[in-house]
Each structure stands twice: as structure tokens, then as C-alpha cells.
Symmetry: C2
Subunit: 197 residues, 2 copies
Amino acid sequence: MARTTDGDGTPVPQRLLAAATRLFAERGYDRTSVQEIVEAAGVTKGALYHYFGSKDDLLHEVYARVLRVQQERLDAFANADEPIEKRLRGAAADVVVTTIENLDDAMIFFRSMHHLSPEKNKQVRAERRRYHERFRALIEEGQESGVFSKATPADLVVDYHFGSVHHLSTWYRPDGPMGPQEVADHLADLLLRALRP
Amino acid sequence: MARTTDGDGTPVPQRLLAAATRLFAERGYDRTSVQEIVEAAGVTKGALYHYFGSKDDLLHEVYARVLRVQQERLDAFANADEPIEKRLRGAAADVVVTTIENLDDAMIFFRSMHHLSPEKNKQVRAERRRYHERFRALIEEGQESGVFSKATPADLVVDYHFGSVHHLSTWYRPDGPMGPQEVADHLADLLLRALRP
DNA sequence: CTGGACAGACTAACCGGTCGGTATGTATCA
DNA sequence: TGATACATACCGACCGGTTAGTCTGTCCAG
């Protein structure tokens, strides 16, 4: 039997990543010791430093995973064969749902970026910008075609919406009165209503 | 001459608070050592622990200051003798301006809450709720009188707006193309437009 | 001479990361 | 088939460095 799956069926690197994600979201990056991560994953430090170069690397992996997923989902909605209104609404609501379904990731994303090393921070920022720009392009397209109001610069509208997404990890509770889809519909509504000409 | 004002005219406790605010915003709470704070303030650890019980206390003071100022300003706008639309717009825009003018505070506020001790965290949350509820009351008032749409629960609208305020510290740059008032007007516009019946 | 306002040396606890070592799996060849 | 050789996966003691907080002492105002 391969050592990689001792204990349960999940490979060690993924177990470490999962444990780190949970702990980083729970206590923050600096308050989580490498020792705690490896204990939660049921291995020792040797294993962690066998698969990851540093604690920082672990955090970076979390970011990479989130960014990849979000960008893929946005592209799918943005490139669909639908009227612009529907595409924007779909993308805006979807990012809310996936954020709620991965609140830990969101928490880490917005709270721990400054813990990344400068190069990795730069890399993450660059990918974030790609995401931001794809979203902005959607809004601009609607503005050009007269479906959305031009009163507010598209850039600002993007930040307005992502502010609310960002904020979710602060106030949303899974045991609260609203489900993910419900919140998503409301937030997408607010965005679309704000954009009415 | 009192030792409290050695060096410049500012009393030591305020110098410590100012230094801590800047450093916490710059590097984060955990990455800022007590030694760095006292050096930036031109004193030693003896002085810090003479005035503050702990590093945590220092952070708490930053929160208390921000909360007090924001609550006062909100109350002023909310209780003014104006139509509800104007009062909400005024409050919504004002919080944006003051947030931009104290970006360090905002950065710390949303990034470092989880570093507070449980009791202090609870205390801060309670005050935050008061603020949130005053703002929500404004929106509900407008909804009741038919000036604002009832399509979205008032609670969610509040979180929507404060999401964008929260987000400011992430993207706003003082040397960017927009001034504080300009951004504030746009964001208040978006809120009011989203609330149109 | 008393007490507040500090200075600064000190401590005990961690923490990230390293490193030598071991166990297991796999490829090669006689 | 069985032995040899090497690679991969991991263990856990250990190290250098840092940190929040303490404690004793000094100095000056009133």
C-alpha cells in the first residue's frame, strides 16, 4: 500500500491543503503553526516540506485553486450565447454562490493576501486583474449597447459588486435564513437594478 | 517638562496609537512587533505597557476610535431634517469619504478583527451591529414610505453597500484618477439606483 | 520623599525550516 | 525468481531566531 494514502483514501498533499485551508480561515495565517497543520492532516513536518517548499507555498496553492475555479466559471458565463443582461446576471449570481459554498477560501483570499511573498502576491494580483477585466468587459458591452446605464464607470461597478462578494465571508452564516441561491439572486438583482438606464 | 511629551508635542499614548495604526495597516497585526511600534513612537516597551495592557489592547483602541467616529457621523445624517432619500444618500456617501480618508483604519478594521481577543471581538461586533441597524432603519423607512423598492430585504442592502465600503481599502489608491468625493458620489448613486422602485 | 513615567535587560515560549535517517516501492539484470 | 540499486515518501529531533510580556531600576515633578 502506498504511504501516500495511509489512514484514509485521500493523498497526503490534498489532506495538507484541506487542513491548511480550514485552519487559515479559522485562525488566520500567522496564528496557524506548521505543527498544527501537519497534526490536523495526520502527518509530520517532514511530509509537508516534502511536498511544499514553505508555509507560504501552501497559502499560494489555496489562492491558485480559487482563482482557477472562479476564472473558469466566469468565462463560461461570459462567453455563453445569451443576451448581455442574462450573461452578466448569470456571472454575478454564480460568483456569489461559489463564494458561499467555499466561504473558507473567500475568508483566506481577502484576509491573507498580504501574507504572501511579494512575487507570489504580484502573481495573484495579475490573475485577479484578468478576472476583473473580463467582468468589466461584460459591463462595458452592456453600456455600449445601451442596455446598461453609463452613469458609473464600469471599473467602479465591478468593484461595487465584488465588494459585496468579498463581504460575504464577514456576514453570511450557513445556518442563517437565506440559502446561497437566494442571496445570489438578490445581489445580482441589486447589480442589475443599479445598472438600469 | 513632562516626559509625556518628550521629542514633539504629542502625548506618548497618542504617538503609540498612531504608530501602531500605521504599522498594523502596513504589515498586519501579527507581523508588527511591539518593538517596532515603540521604536516608531520613539519610546520603549516600558512606556507601552505603562499605558496599554497588551498589544491586543492597542488594536482594540484603534477599533474603538473608528467605531465612535463612524457612529457619530451616521447619526448626524440619519437624524437630520431632510427627506429620506437625501438622508440615506448623505450617510452612504459620507461613510465612503471618511473611509477613504482613513484607509489605514479601514484596512485594519476588516483585516484584523479576528486578532482581537474573544471578549473584545464580541464588544466590537455589538457596536458594529448598532451601526448596521441604524443604517438599516433608514432603508426600511424609505421602503415603508414607498420611496425605495421592497424587492430586496433591507439587511441585505446594508451588507451590499458596506461590502463596497469594506472593499475600498483593497482597490482605492489616493494617487488614482478619482477623488474621495467622486467615488462617494458614484457609490451612493449606485445604492440609490438599486433602490429605485 | 512619594509616586507616576518611563528605560531596558531579561525570560520563557514558540515557530519555521533543516537534516539525517528509515521504510517502502520499483526497475534492472543475472 | 531473487538479489541489487536506487527513488520516493515520510519521520521527528533539533536549531537559530523572534516575540510578547515582565521586572527592576532611574529620574523627575510636586
